[in-house]
C-alpha cells in the first residue's frame, strides 16, 4: 500500500477512537465541570459497560442485533444508576472535598475492578457486532497522466465502525441539546456556575449531583458498549480510556464540554496516526508527559478559559 491510502486508513481508525473517546471524556468533563471533582473511577464505569454488554448479550442469546440493541439501551442505565448510588452513598458523605474524593474514587476503582475479576474472570471476551459488512474504499491516483479511481488492497472499513462514528455524533448532539435547551440542562448549568445560589433558587443540588455523576458514568458505559464489538471486554480495560480521557479533559480545558470534544478529535486522530509511526509505549510516554506539562505550564488547558 502507498503512503496515501495508509494514512487514510490510519485516519479512519483514528476517527473510531476519537468518537469513543469523545463520549467517554465528555462524561468525565461533565462531572468535573458541574461537581468540581475528579472521578478516578471513570475508566471502571467504561469497563463495567463493556462487561455488562457481554453479559446481557449472553443472557439473551438469540440474534446478535437484538442482543446488542437491548444492551445498548439497558447497560448505560444500569451503570448510571450504580454510579448515582455510589455518589449518594460515598461521595455525598465526604461532602465532595476534592482531595478526599480522589482517594475515595481510587478505592471505588479497585472495588469495581476486583469484583469484576472475581465474578467475570480474567478472560477477554468478544461481543458479536450487530452488522459487520466490509466496505472497500476507493483511492484516487494518477495513472498514465490522468486521474483514476482504484480500490487498493487492504483499504477498507466495516459498516459497524462507520455506525460507531455516526452514533457517537448523534449522542453528543443530543447531550449538547439537553445541556443548552432543556430545563434539566439549565439546572445543571446553574449548579455548575454557583452551587449555593442554585440551592437558594430551589434547585435540588444533591439530586443534580447524583444525576450528573450517573450521566457521566452512563456516557462512559455507552462508549464501551459501542466499542466492545471491536475491542473485547476485559476487567483491566478501564486504564487506557481513563488516561486518554484525562488527557482530553485537561487539554480541552477542565470541565469544558466543547473543549473536550475538540480535544478528543485531536487526540483520537493523532493517536491513530502516531501509533502507526511510533512504538505504542513511546507514544504513551509522550502523551503522559504532555498532560503533566500542560497542567504545570497552562493549568487552564490549551483551550480553557480562566474561571473565577
Amino acid at each position: 500500500m502507498d503512503f496515501g491510502p495508509y494514512l487514510m486508513l490510519a485516519t479512519l481508525e483514528g476517527a473510531v477512537t476519537a468518537a469513543v473517546l469523545a463520549l467517554t471524556a465528555s462524561g468525565l468533563a461533565l462531572v468535573f465541570g458541574v461537581m468540581r471533582v475528579v472521578n478516578v473511577a471513570h475508566g471502571e464505569f467504561f469497563m463495567l459497560g463493556a462487561v455488562l454488554a457481554w453479559w446481557v448479550t449472553q443472557m439473551l442469546g438469540g440474534s446478535a442485533v437484538m442482543g446488542f440493541v437491548i444492551a445498548l439501551c439497558v447497560v448505560p442505565v444500569l451503570v448510571g444508576c450504580l454510579a448515582a448510588l455510589t455518589d449518594m452513598v460515598i461521595l455525598k458523605r465526604i461532602s465532595y472535598d476534592p482531595e478526599r474524593t480522589i482517594v475515595a474514587t481510587i478505592g471505588i476503582l479497585y472495588i469495581f475492578q476486583q469484583v469484576t475479576l472475581m465474578t467475570y474472570g480474567p478472560d477477554a471476551r468478544p461481543v458479536a457486532p450487530p452488522f459487520n459488512t466490509r466496505i472497500a474504499l476507493p483511492w484516487i491516483d494518477f495513472v498514465d497522466g490522468r486521474l483514476s479511481l482504484y480500490w487498493p488492497w487492504g483499504l477498507s472499513i466495516t459498516s459497524y465502525k462507520l455506525a460507531v462514528i455516526a452514533s457517537a455524533g448523534v449522542i453528543l448532539l443530543a447531550l449538547w441539546l439537553v445541556m443548552t435547551r432543556s430545563k434539566l440542562g439549565l439546572m445543571m448549568r446553574a449548579t455548575e456556575q454557583d452551587r449555593d445560589m442554585a440551592l437558594a433558587f430551589g434547585i435540588p443540588v444533591e439530586k443534580v449531583y447524583a444525576f450528573v455523576f450517573g450521566l457521566g458514568a452512563a456516557l462512559a458505559a455507552l462508549a464501551a458498549v459501542l466499542i466492545v464489538p471491536i475491542q473485547q471486554a476485559h476487567y483491566l480495560m478501564g486504564g487506557d480510556p481513563l488516561l486518554l480521557s484525562f488527557i482530553v479533559v485537561i487539554i480541552g480545558g477542565l470541565g469544558s464540554l466543547p473543549g473536550a470534544v475538540l480535544a478528543a478529535l485531536l487526540i483520537g486522530l493523532s493517536d491513530g496516526i502516531i501509533s502507526v509511526f511510533f512504538s505504542p509505549t513511546l507514544a504513551k510516554i509522550l502523551a503522559t508527559l504532555l498532560v503533566a506539562f500542560v497542567l504545570v505550564f497552562r493549568p487552564h488547558g490549551l483551550f480553557g478559559v480562566r474561571r473565577g
Partner: protein, 315 residues
C-alpha cells in the same frame, strides 16, 4: 512540654525495642515479613513527611521508590558497583528525581498537583518498560547473592537482613522525629494548616515545600534501594500506580501526620493483603474497600483518632 518529650521518647524507644526483640521470637515466615514491613514502613514514612506533615498529596511516589530501586540495581548490573556505593547511587538518583519533580509539580496545587505527580510517575513507569534491554521491564532482574554483601555482612541471610531492615527503619524513624521536632518541621505543619498565613508571616513557602519534596523523595529512594538489595529483586511493578497508592493507603490507615502511623498502617495492610491473597486473586479489593471506608469514616487514621481522643502529645 518536657514530659511530653519524655513520653514520646519512651514510646518510640519501646516500639524499637519490641521490633528488635521480635527477631528472636517470630517464626521464619513472619520474621521475613516483618523485615519487609519495616522497609515498606520507611517508604511510607517518607511519604508521610510530604502528605501528613506538609499537606501535599502526591499520587506518584512510586517514581521515587523506583528511582532508588533502579538507581541501585542498574549501578550494580550495568557498572559493577559494590553494594555500599550502589545504595548511595540509589539515594542520589531518588533525590535528583525528587528535585526535578519538585521544581515542576510545585508550580501547581491541590488536585492539579495530584494529577501531575500521577502523570510523571506513569511516564517514569513507561520509561522503565521502554528501556527493557537494561531494566528487563516487567520481568525485572535478580541481584545475585555475591553482590548483596555490605561491609562483610551477607544481606541475603535472614538474620542479617532483619537487622539491616531494622537499621533502615531506625534511620527513617529518627529522621522523622528530628524533622517533626525541628523548626523546619513546624513550618511544614504551618504550611499544611494555612499556607497563606505562613507566607504572610515571612516564610518562603515554596522553598520549604521544595525541601519537603526532596527529603521525602530521598527517604523513599533509600527504602527502594534497601528493598532491592535486601530482597534481591528489581522489577518494574514497583514503579506502577499500585506502589504510589500503597503508601497513601498505609499512611491514611495508620494516621497521616503521626510518626508511628506509617508503621502501624503498613503492618496492618500487609497482613490483611497477605491473608486475603491466600483466599482470592482479587486481593486489591481489600485495598479498595479500606480506602473508601477510611475516607468516609476515619480520615484521621488509627493513630490520628488515638491522638484526638487519648494521647494529645503524640508527635
Amino acid at each position: 512540654m518536657t514530659t511530653d518529650l519524655k513520653k514520646s521518647l519512651l514510646l518510640h524507644g519501646a516500639v524499637l525495642a519490641v521490633l528488635f526483640a521480635s527477631q528472636f521470637v517470630l517464626p521464619a515466615y513472619h520474621h521475613g515479613n516483618l523485615a519487609r514491613v519495616m522497609i515498606l514502613a520507611s517508604y511510607a514514612m517518607g511519604y508521610n513527611l510530604l502528605f501528613g506533615y506538609t499537606g501535599l498529596l502526591s499520587l506518584g511516589h512510586a517514581l521515587f521508590f523506583a528511582a532508588g530501586l533502579y538507581g541501585m540495581g542498574l549501578a550494580m548490573s550495568q557498572f559493577d558497583v559494590g553494594a555500599g556505593p550502589a545504595l548511595v547511587c540509589g539515594v542520589i538518583a531518588g533525590t535528583l528525581v525528587g528535585a526535578v519533580i519538585g521544581m515542576l509539580a510545585l508550580r501547581t496545587e491541590g488536585v492539579a498537583f495530584m494529577i501531575v505527580t500521577l502523570m510523571f510517575a506513569q511516564a517514569g513507569y513507561l520509561t522503565i518498560l521502554y528501556f527493557g534491554t537494561y531494566t528487563r521491564g516487567d520481568e525485572g532482574f535478580v541481584i545475585a547473592q555475591p553482590d548483596r554483601v555490605l561491609l562483610g555482612l551477607d544481606l541475603s541471610d535472614p538474620t542479617v537482613r532483619f537487622f539491616a531492615a531494622f537499621t533502615v527503619f531506625c534511620i527513617a524513624l529518627i529522621m522523622c522525629l528530628a524533622v517533626v521536632k525541628s523548626r523546619f518541621g513546624k513550618v511544614l505543619i504551618a504550611i499544611r494548616e494555612n499556607e497563606d498565613r505562613t507566607q504572610m508571616l515571612g516564610y518562603d513557602v515554596t522553598r520549604y515545600k521544595f525541601s519537603a519534596v526532596v527529603l521525602s523523595a530521598s527517604l523513599s529512594a533509600l527504602a527502594g534501594a534497601a528493598y532491592g538489595i535486601l530482597f534481591g529483586y528489581v522489577g518494574a511493578s514497583f514503579a506502577s500506580v499500585q506502589y504510589s497508592i500503597f503508601p497513601l493507603l498505609w499512611v491514611l490507615l495508620g494516621g497521616a501526620g503521626t510518626v508511628l502511623g506509617p508503621l502501624i498502617g503498613t503492618l496492618f495492610m500487609f497482613y490483611l493483603i497477605d491473608l486475603s491473597s491466600g483466599i482470592t486473586t482479587a486481593y486489591m479489593l481489600i485495598a479498595g474497600v479500606v480506602l473508601v471506608l477510611l475516607t468516609v469514616f476515619a480520615p484521621q487514621g488509627i493513630l490520628g483518632e488515638l491522638r484526638r481522643r487519648v494521647w494529645k502529645w503524640l508527635p
